[in-house]
Amino acid sequence: MTAKIETTKRVPNNASAKAHAETPQMMPGAALLLKVLEAEGVEVIFGYPGGAVLPIYDEIFKSNAVRHILVRHEQAAVHAAEGYARSTGKVGVVLVTSGPGATNAVTGLTDALMDSVPVVCLTGQVPSHLIGTDAFQEGDTSGITRPCTKHNYLVKQSADLQRSIEEAFHVARTGRPGPVVIDLPKDVQMLDAPYIEGGVWQDTPHRYRPTISPDRAAIKKAVQMMKAAKRPVIYGGGGLINSGPEATANLRRLVEVTGWPTTLTLMGLGAMSADDPHFLGMLGMHGTYEANLTMHGCDFMLNLGARFDDRVTGRLNAFSPNSIKVHADIDPASINKVVQVDLGIVGDVKETIAALLEEMKAQNFAPNAKALSGWWEQINGWRGKNCLAYEQKSSIIKPQHAIERLYQMSRDREVFVTTEVGQHQMWAAQYFGFHQPNRWMTSGGLGTMGYGLPAAVGTQIAHPDATVIDISGEASFLMNMQELSTISQYRLPVKVFILNNEWMGMVRQWQELNHGSRYSESYTASLPDFTKLAETFGMTGLRAKKVEDLEDVITTMLETDGPVIADICIEKEENCFPMIPSGSAHNEMLLSAAEESNATVSEEGKILV
């Protein structure tokens, strides 16, 4: 299975005559790479040099077309590219060296795979003739990254170079987006390779053809089901964001036409405005009471670009037991994976919603007004529980209050929020309102602590004039804090808002609930003084110890032109509520700490993560 593939092998007969007529220009592989990157519209690369990519760095030195951002760790390069991609809808590009450069990137690649983020990662490789000899900084990059990428390439022939890079971009950005690795042996970077202006890659009828347009018959059937709905819910996910602004515009139109209650996953936040009265808030483990009970009690569920993640469904055999389920997803493998649905619609969600709207018109769709108003009445009853209520009583800062104030005080700005992973992430999802897509960058599927700071780097690079806030926890922050150096170098005005409780808060919360409050290794000891840390990197360091300090700190942080670390000392024992304990169903939520103390988690539940 090692047959080489010639460049022109799969170019079909109808390939543009131009590509054939032109004689290829010969140039070193590294120069060709930059040419193709430019042609693909790449403006920024996040990377870290090393022996096996020096020819590419040499070309970057000579070129003005592509800007290189030097990170301080390869994992951060991928997260930065993810932040860039998620906040712009473009492909994020990473350049790292062989061996440790590639292995360090693996966490970022897996993160991008889980959250469907379009990333192209270029890795250096030892020269072809040394592959397999345990050469210095050799690693089996294509082997290691095969399961954590959408696709990967090891380019052994210069003749394959242009087509491989072009196809990599196509694969990364189309269909269900994802990370693609191109492993480039050093000799391939240096030897002359044929370059054809205008590109050589051609779509072929059999290789990689994602379904974009939904099946008409399925759309017809879906609308018939929608017409019968009495207690409907729209459950939207990250696919709405990946599909682009048109998808969220279509969603808003759909919600307007139907008047249906709508909930969004962690990855889908911003697809509709948090202020929209139809929005029930996020659903799932730390979702709102009304969102989860609506999901549990509905008789019709329209899933738009979400994937029934276990954080969303809770106990599967009790998940929305009495509903007809329609699932629209661009990835056929997401349909009927964990939840069996009554109808699957494969296609790009923006086109699916557009087709639904069109078909609804054709079938004279009108929501069942009487049933719907009764349903809303019930939902409003759940809303009345006010499940996100908290009391800011003493002078100790409640984390919920800190996020809520941050949200309110930054509302008139163009704000992008990134997070790390843990309690602060859930509080940010619950208390920070998002009104537009691409404003919220968080690690959902993989749950990567240390994601937020480098993601903020990438986001700020893409939006130099915007306010980019990394809502962080002190434990997550320590995981990639070397990126402070990157922030400092490029004078990125990133605001790091650390909810500091001196705990790995979510770990502690689970130990409290599932392990008899035996807090094994979850205390974050020996923390640095974050304000001094900021100063050593030439940033502004701020601290809020009491609730009285909070507003001043937030104001100063937002008004400071440069980067800021704001150390927010929050109530240490606070936990995230509401919560569906693992192994429980949507209608078995814990609303408060008082309920938590009475809660028992089943043995089956404790096994779940």
Binding site: K9, R10, E167, P210
Partner: protein, 175 residues
Amino acid sequence: MLDTTQTERHTLSVLVDNEPGVLARVVGLFSGRGYNIESLTVSEVDEERHTSRISVVTSGTPLVIEQIKKLLARLVPVHVVEDLTTGPAHVERELALVKIVNQGSDRVEALRVADSFRARTLDSTLNSFVFEVTGNSSKISAFIKLMESLGTVEIARTGVCGMTRGNTIDLIDAD
């Protein structure tokens, strides 16, 4: 709704670009997600187009089989995934080489059994044979079982390859 409990055996025929790593990609998909591979055969089938056919026999609930087919189909170098088991009638064949070491009447009986299974004798010594037998998997298994009762055996099986009956070309790849 698909049955979630019954395990079924399916033979899948997968046409792929013959490029480095494609087999690892297919195998990794099974191992990474905990699916079974009962047998796997792979070889280039179209030199000009550089395509290979992978025949894989797997087992799982209908839900899992559906998932496997979708996951295979979304791999970049995969052209077509055909489920021979659910499709129109198909033929399946497997080839096995069976070495048997024995003597006396068992040796005579082994030769007689081989004859009735239409096995060919590829090699012979005074106390051993190597038989080549083809057929569907159950025939091969039956043959092996009989041989095992007649002596010490060593087995090499190719795994199943198959295609649909009739005059249609299923894994069409014309461009």
